[in-house]
Amino acid sequence: MDTARRDEDGAIGDAMVVAEVLAGHRELFRALVERYQGRVYGMVAHLVGDRELARDVAQDAFLSAFRGLASFDPSRPFAPWLFKIAQRSAFTALRRVRGRRETPDADLVADRASVEGHADAVVDREATRQASGDLVGLVAALDPKYRSAVLLRHREGLSLAETAEALEIPLGTVKSRLHEAYRILRARLGGEGRP
């Protein structure tokens, strides 16, 4: 799809907005913020499990996107590119919070899997309490690497290739993570799972 043209709602395409921003009209970046803030904030909130932290992460993600706007390929969709930045910011925030609360001297470049414990700790308490019968809670209880794959693939509707690009992992890894996420969710939903 040519994102430089107006979409079905008549809105100016993402690529055209990006071109205008790069041309010096930075105030037009607001169009991209208002268009994607809900999806970015929601995804980040699911990843970090904390609304206040999600707000900071979303703000940092949009600012990083603005700074690196020249690296965006206008021939490709804008959303996967933005989600890659957002999930990168989310995992960075999770590592930072984990290091501050649990292991102050821990290596901040630890593997993403190492943030699993903290994600479980800071996830919304109310959602956690309802995890046994609530899909939201079950997703929040997933390992962040599975959670991010599920959110991008199904909630954001990215293709497998786009999901792999956003997560910066091979396509096969995306498939295996999704497969594992399905298995965990099915097991936890079990007989008592109700959507």
């Binding site: 790069l22 809900g38 904030y41 929601g42 949009f62 603005f66 020249a70 899909l135 939201v136 799972g193």
Partner: protein, 279 residues
Amino acid sequence: MTDDGTWTQERLEEALAGLPYPAPPPDLADAIMASVLAAPAPAPRPAADAPHSSFFERLASLFRSPGLLLPVGAAALLLVGLSSHLLTRPSGPVPTAPVVARVDVPTLPAADFPLVVASVAGPLAVGDSLTAWPGAPDLVTVGSRTRARLASGASVRVATWGLVVQAGRVAFEVEAGDEPVEVGCPAGRVVVLGTRFTLDVAPSGATTLTVDEGRVRFEGAEGTVLEVTSFDGPAVAAPGVPPRLRASMSRLEADVPPPSPARPARVATDPTLEEPFGP
């Protein structure tokens, strides 16, 4: 979810697609834009119409740069001039006559005429004289078709039109060709189209011509012409004496001295030497 309460893959994916998101804070967009407007402007994207994708485009861009125009242009002109010079300059002295070169053949058997030139010791200029060292016969090439082997003590001189045998025994091998090859001697000159022959010049100038293969024309200085073949035996001539076959020149035969004594070899330039014949 099926009727028995289990989750199918399709139902699970459908539920995940409808996963509710929390609403963003109402001031989130303003906060983001505040940080965006305070941040430095993003770096501009490289122009798509100036990719500099090829060497020639990059080279052309150098010429478009005013600061580099002069040095790059000068370097290009110098390069073109140097290339033109290297491609067009002659590989040696510009010949006004057949190239005569001395060839080192230290192991040349006396009985065999060398058909393979081993190496060229150096070109000889018009007017140069060459005398073979005793025991070390010289080989001289004239153009691309003529080889001349100088016996010890033999002496030749380079004329504008070829080689002149001044003294001693010199064997020639001339490859067949369209243009005649001339070899001078005090008694005249030998014109050949391709053959093997020997000229033996006595100190008095008396010359003995022996044709080993083919046919030559022996032209006396006074204008007499004698055709000599390999079946005719030696022909003799002397300054002022027209060439004759030895069989009919018994008087001259006695005048032809034995081969020249060995003399030190030397290469000398003597511009005062006169050509036996004009070009």
